[in-house]
């Protein structure tokens, strides 16, 4: 049982008894994909909706580039993209008082972009804990695809 750490603007895959964990999601969104038959899981921690630069080297940073990359990596590990389902967490608005409405709305925009990327790949979103104004740490378990969400103020929940 290994806990594989996924950083900010990072992604990784796991299977068997292993889990994937990413900490301190604020406006960022954690995308948790799961293939129930092979128990292959994938987790991405994206920061921005879309890559403005086509030559972007870090594909894990953007919703529109991270989703296809995560699917590819899961397929290499034996997953079938037609069986994948998604759970989402994050996309909070951490600061409620400030002038930069555009910057402050980055969380909801990230969530929308992730859903659009998943829709393009026909992956259904089966559960989500998004929005609000709290930070989240999440762990995705390959054994059953459950996503455990910890917040600083509202305790622990499982999707």
């Amino acid at each position: 049982m290994t806990v594989i750490r996924v950083g900010m603007a990072d992604l990784n895959v796991a299977d068997g008894e292993d889990s994937l964990r990413t900490t301190g999601l604020g406006s960022c969104v954690g995308i948790a994909l799961y293939d129930s038959q092979t128990k292959v899981t994938g987790l991405a921690h994206i920061m921005l909706p879309t890559s403005a630069n086509a030559n972007e080297t870090n594909r894990a940073k953007y919703a529109n580039t991270a989703v296809p990359l995560l699917i590819e990596m899961m397929e290499k590990k034996g997953a079938n993209r037609r069986r994948l389902s998604a759970k989402l967490a994050g996309g909070a608005q951490m600061f409620t008082f400030a002038g930069q409405s555009d910057l402050m709305r980055i969380g909801p925009r990230n969530v929308e972009a992730v859903k659009e990327a998943l829709r393009l790949n026909t992956i259904p979103v089966v559960a989500e804990d998004t929005g609000g104004n709290c930070g989240r740490t999440i762990e995705l378990f390959s054994a059953d695809g459950s996503l455990v969400i910890r917040t600083a103020k509202q305790g622990v929940s499982t999707l």
Binding site: G24, C28, M47, A98, G99, I106, A152
Partner: protein, 206 residues
């Protein structure tokens, strides 16, 4: 632009350290006056760091902290964060306004939040005005925004601005010894700001 940040040499970093030192000196003096007791600051650490390393400085991405966030507008745009341990922030506001707080140790009343915003205003204002004197550039802070949560979640709002996987970080530690208050003042210039900053200081980038 991001390559410019990655390739900064020791000389450029030492110039930034000195600028940060003077800015933080003014900020510490202003805060000392406000509190009526001496606030000390350490010589700033100037470094080019990855996302993860920034939250490591305050104890990790999940560390529960209070974050005061301001955007810098004008000629040299960027982000400013003042991060405090929750207990430190409590002591700081009690020094400032007395015990008007919430009964919960990790919750802040409206009065306390206003006091913290004022502290943010004073720190950022004095820091930026000394930087403006130096560079002859215009800079002004937005009103401060406050969040009490995980450090990683708070800092990410500044990191999404950067458009790069690493940031130029000027980190100053504030310490008030007898009350054991500890805070980090982070200045994160936007990537385009770095060359403007150096140009205004008459320092060549390479």
């Amino acid at each position: 632009m991001s390559e410019e940040i990655r390739n900064l040499g020791e000389f450029q970093l030492s110039v930034l350290r000195e600028v940060g030192n003077i800015g933080a000196g003014h900020a510490a003096t202003a805060l000392s006056k406000l509190l009526g007791s001496e606030i000390q600051m350490n010589v700033p650490r100037v470094s080019v760091v990855g996302f993860e390393e920034i939250s490591e400085i305050v104890g990790g991405s999940e560390k529960f902290v209070i974050g005061i966030f301001l955007r810098v507008e004008g000629d040299i745009p960027g982000s400013i964060f003042f991060l405090l341990q929750v207990e430190s922030a409590k002591r700081l506001v009690t020094d400032l306004i007395g015990n008007m707080g919430s009964a919960e140790p990790d919750e802040f009343s409206e009065m306390e939040i206003s006091a913290l915003q004022e502290i943010g205003n004073i720190l950022a204002g004095s820091y930026l005005s000394s930087l403006a004197d130096f560079t002859k550039k215009e800079m002004s802070p937005t009103p401060p925004a406050i969040a009490v949560d995980m450090a990683g979640a708070i800092l990410s709002i500044g990191l999404v601005q950067l458009g790069a996987d690493f940031a130029l970080l000027v980190d100053t530690e504030f310490v008030q010894g007898e009350r054991n208050i500890e805070g980090h003042f982070f200045m994160l210039p936007d990537p385009g700001s770095v060359s403007i900053l150096f140009e205004s200081l008459g320092v060549e980038l390479q």
